[in-house]
């Protein structure tokens, strides 16, 4: 949460949705000022995230390139906004790398309805993932049961795993099912996703710049 969190009381559960609406007295100018403060804090977080994850990014790049040279495939997963971030990574990787999401709503609702939401990704990984593949997961909290289940399933199948997460890595930094943990030191879901966006751009940029040499 940024220094302007007092302007977002509803984000901490104490806001007008559950208490007196007159408690909030921001004016229009403060609205723009709040945006500027959050924006600046976000940019600082992006840069810090890129610095602290530099070595992990290199490891992630190596896994993706090795996967590609072995004719493996990259599968990307995430829930909600993180599902959108998964789609973005695939969109940016696709010109260079065989990558796809596991986000077909028909499959997901089928598994969620008949088995449970915790199996929506693990079931698909069981179907698609092979030894040479890489599974990449986006999770701001690092605690989503369906992501943890998917990583465990990928590990059982011998695939490599990369996670983008928040809260400084939380439990995923030491999770035995995770090969590379790219983490953001923040507890704000929005700022985490934005910093993960910066990591995504850096990852794709390094893969694209190193792929031709690896391929040749």
């Amino acid at each position: 949460m940024s220094d302007t969190s007092f302007l977002y009381p509803f984000l901490s559960g104490n806001g007008p949705a559950s208490s007196d609406q007159t408690a909030l007295t921001v004016c229009a100018d403060e609205l723009a000022a709040a945006a500027r403060a959050s924006w600046a804090a976000g940019e600082i977080l992006d840069q810090a995230t890129l610095r602290t994850n530099d070595r992990s990014l290199d490891l992630a790049v190596r896994l993706v390139i090795e996967c590609s040279t072995r004719r493996g495939r990259v599968f990307v997963i995430g829930n909600g906004g993180s599902a959108c971030d998964a789609r973005r990574l695939v969109r940016l990787l696709r010109p260079s790398i065989e990558a796809r999401t596991l986000l077909d709503p028909v499959v997901i609702t089928a598994v969620a309805n008949d088995v449970g939401t915790e199996r929506i990704f693990a079931r698909q990984i069981e179907s698609f993932v092979r030894l040479a593949d890489v599974v990449i997961a986006f999770t701001t909290s690092g605690t989503s049961p369906n992501i943890l289940g998917a990583l465990a399933q990928a590990r059982r199948l011998g695939a490599h795993t990369i996670v983008f997460t928040g809260y400084g890595g939380a439990a995923l930094a030491t999770n035995a099912d995770v090969d590379v943990c790219l983490s953001v030191e923040s507890s704000s879901v929005h700022r985490i996703q934005e910093a993960q966006g910066a990591l995504t751009v850096a990852l794709v940029s390094r893969v694209v710049s190193q792929l031709p040499k690896a391929a040749s």
């Binding site: 229009a28 609205l31 500027r36 959050s38 924006w39 973005r88 969109r91």
Partner: protein
Amino acid sequence: MIVDACDSLAVAARCLSTRIVEGATLWAMAPGMDDHAHHVAVEFVHPSSVGATAVPAVAVTGQDDELLATMRRQVRAGDVIVSMGSDSADATFEVSRRSAAWGTDHVHLGWPDGESDRSLDPRTFVVRLDGDVAGEAALTRAYHLLWELTFICLHNQKLATHPSSTVDPVSCSVCADEATTTEVVEVLGNDRARVQSTCGPDVVDISLIDCVQTHDLLLVHAGVALRRLT
């Protein structure tokens, strides 16, 4: 850049929150980057973890012509369209110039295309961002902040007031009275056409204009189309 973008975001958030209170649906599109459209929609529909109201928000996806066709078919007067990406994307450009006829507000989070001479309608709320690949991270930050500011406004009544437009309405060149931008829905022979405007469907006289076609934008005053907007 940050200062301008944040000032624009504050204005756009006040517009958006006003329209939401009035019952608007939010339509999100990002030509060539559908993932961002989905992200905006999920932000507004599903903020349940913070107890915020669910806003009807829809991701419109596909190629430019599909985007425009879907918008034309589904948006209603009072709705808000949020577009993202390059200013010169066909769908964004067309949504911008047609919003007056559709009665929608248009918020654009994006960057200019240096090679294009197209410019968006002055009534579009533009949040200006850098336009390289790294700019996509800024785009995500922009719509996250749009959501945050909109919800501050929604929970603070005095902020949920649509800022007055800085653009004067288009005037009739004969009497200086206000003229209306309309989109042709169907041509009814040589001298009449069914049109859509902010005020709803109407039939207007098109005898002063040659070769009117479906989807043309016409400037109408007192039931008569005065000229075609190109």
